[in-house]
């Protein structure tokens, strides 16, 4: 069957898209040439890859007895945990002020939304570099950056979750003369807590990776140990650190996965 006797669904698309597709291809070609990327580089990398694998095995487990690598891994884990926790608590208040049904004033709501959007626009690299100058190297700076990123994302999600709740319990409490705190406690919280916790746990998974990266730029934790081992060509050390770090991250993710499933299944506080 050489020719399919159907009208090509692409014919119209070809006509409309010749220009954008042409521009796209020119941009791609220009970028490839400008970055000097060629298949040759890839082929040259293959023997290097096998050399690297050869040097990595066997992994050097001794590295855990000499230095403080295990402590660094604990630091990475703590940065992610504390940053997520504190960030989520602050994000909860941002969520209340940013939600159209609870916010005390439209102005406050607008300011909150703008602040959160601005936070999300700024890459964490900028925060960590400036914070390291201000409060010094170490996990405290990394933890603050993680908390900031958490506020930016969770604040928005929390506000949206609060905006989409069932308004009936809220209204009946209001007409019964309940104050704002009582309304939040008895009408809002029961409805949003599962999604709040699930989103926080999801952000924790992201933060574990962010914490690993922040180590490289002075945020404390195992990221910098890993980078040092690699740049000093201690590949056997690097593999051992990588394996243990991955196991720790994997276990942390399984725990958060388990908790998420538990939270979504049951309706707390009701």
């Amino acid at each position: 069957m050489k020719h399919l006797n159907v009208t090509s669904p692409y014919r119209r698309w070809y006509r409309h898209s010749a220009l954008p597709v042409g521009i796209f291809l020119i941009l791609l070609l220009w970028s490839l040439i400008d970055l000097k990327i060629s298949p040759r580089l890839f082929l040259e990398g293959i023997p290097h890859f096998f050399n690297l694998v050869g040097e990595m095995f066997p992994p050097n487990w001794e590295v855990f007895w000499k230095g403080k690598i295990l402590w660094s891994i604990l630091e990475t884990l703590s940065m992610a945990f504390v940053g997520t926790f504190l960030g989520a608590i602050v994000a909860f208040f941002f969520g209340i002020f940013g939600a159209s049904d609870l916010s005390p004033s439209p102005l406050l709501r607008e300011v909150t939304k703008r602040l959160l959007a601005a936070e999300r626009a700024i890459p964490p690299l900028i925060y960590i570099l400036l914070l390291v100058v201000v409060i010094g190297l170490g996990p405290f700076a990394g933890m603050i950056v993680i908390a900031l990123g958490t506020i930016g994302m969770l604040g928005k999600l929390f506000a949206e979750a609060i905006e989409t709740i069932d308004p009936k319990p809220l209204e009946s409490l209001e007409s019964a003369g309940a104050n704002k705190l009582q309304i939040i406690r008895y009408a809002v919280l029961p409805q949003v807590i599962p999604s709040l916790i699930a989103n926080t746990l999801y952000r924790f998974d992201i933060n574990l990776r962010v914490a690993l990266f922040l180590g490289v730029v002075g945020g404390g934790g195992v990221g910098v140990d890993l980078q040092m081992a690699m740049s000093l060509f201690r590949y056997a050390d690097a593999l051992a650190i990588t394996v243990v770090t991955l196991i720790v991250i994997w276990v942390a993710e399984r725990i958060s996965d388990y908790l998420r499933r538990k939270v979504i299944g049951q309706e707390i506080l009701q």
Binding site: L4, L28, L32, S78, L129, W250
Partner: protein
């Protein structure tokens, strides 16, 4: 008594959480006096950063373009590869079962690997420069897009597929005329979303050896050239915003019009 009963179920988890938090705060060396001492230093830093060194802006265009190119090439190559990987991993394209399962396992293994580790390994293999950066972005884009594309392909309307099959069309023809028209909008939308992720990653990767504007920012801060750093920060913000806005515009146009119909 009633209250005690009600709250006893959350007493144990919250005690555990409090203990973990206390330990975490100790490990992170959280210290409020550090923050208080930091406030004057922060103000001082900002006074050193302003005004930004506008004269450096023309020289910053090139590293910014490099960061953009790395993200662009990484996304395009990653999206292209992911399409074929998605075809292999999708159930309804009749691929070999063991191959399909292997690909799915590899994809989820890639997603489990932090990008930092991927990048460090590529730097060790091919040396510093744009190439390992592109490779790291391709790898992590494939991890995410390969899975999304496979899922999208599995969810297509099977009728056009079956009728083409009954007509005796080849596999390539089926993919071209029955599968692609259905998934193209979601393909493009997801790839655009990945581009937004990749432009941020590309800035970060600069620090670990991919060059570009991220590297420039780190160097200027380490050399305490704060006005130069402020110029780089402004360029980064413009770059990220421009990329997000243009991705949004393209996405809206594509999802709004139903292509291929």
């Amino acid at each position: 008594m009633n209250i005690l009963k009600r709250y006893s179920s959350i007493l144990i988890p919250s005690t555990l959480l409090a203990l973990l938090l206390w330990g975490g705060l100790k490990v992170c060396r959280v210290d409020l006096t550090v923050i208080i001492k930091g406030i004057p230093r922060g103000i001082e830093l900002f006074s050193h950063m302003f005004p930004p060194d506008w004269g450096k802006i023309p020289g910053l265009i090139e590293p910014a373009l490099e960061t953009l190119q790395i993200a662009f090439v990484g996304t395009v190559l990653g999206g292209f590869l992911s399409f074929f990987i998605g075809l292999v991993a999708a159930k309804n394209i009749h691929s070999i079962r063991t191959l399909r399962d292997t690909v799915r396992v590899l994809l989820s293994a890639e997603r489990a690997l932090p990008d930092l580790i991927v990048m460090l390994f590529f730097v060790a293999i091919v040396g510093l420069g744009a190439f390992p950066g592109v490779m790291a972005l391709v790898a992590s884009s494939v991890g995410m897009l390969g899975k999304l594309f496979a899922d999208a392909i599995e969810e297509v309307d099977p009728r056009p597929l079956e009728s083409l099959e009954a007509l005796g069309a080849t596999k390539a023809q089926i993919i071209h005329f029955a599968v692609l028209p259905q998934i193209l909008p979601s393909l493009v939308a997801n790839t655009l979303y990945r581009f937004e992720v990749n432009i941020r990653m590309s800035i970060l990767l600069g620090v670990v050896g991919a060059g570009g504007i991220g590297f420039y920012l780190v160097t200027s801060i380490r050399l305490m050239r704060y006005q130069e750093a402020m110029a780089a920060i402004l360029i980064i913000l413009v770059l990220v915003t421009l990329c997000e806005k243009s991705a949004e515009i393209i996405r809206k146009r594509i999802i709004g019009q139903e292509i291929l119909r």
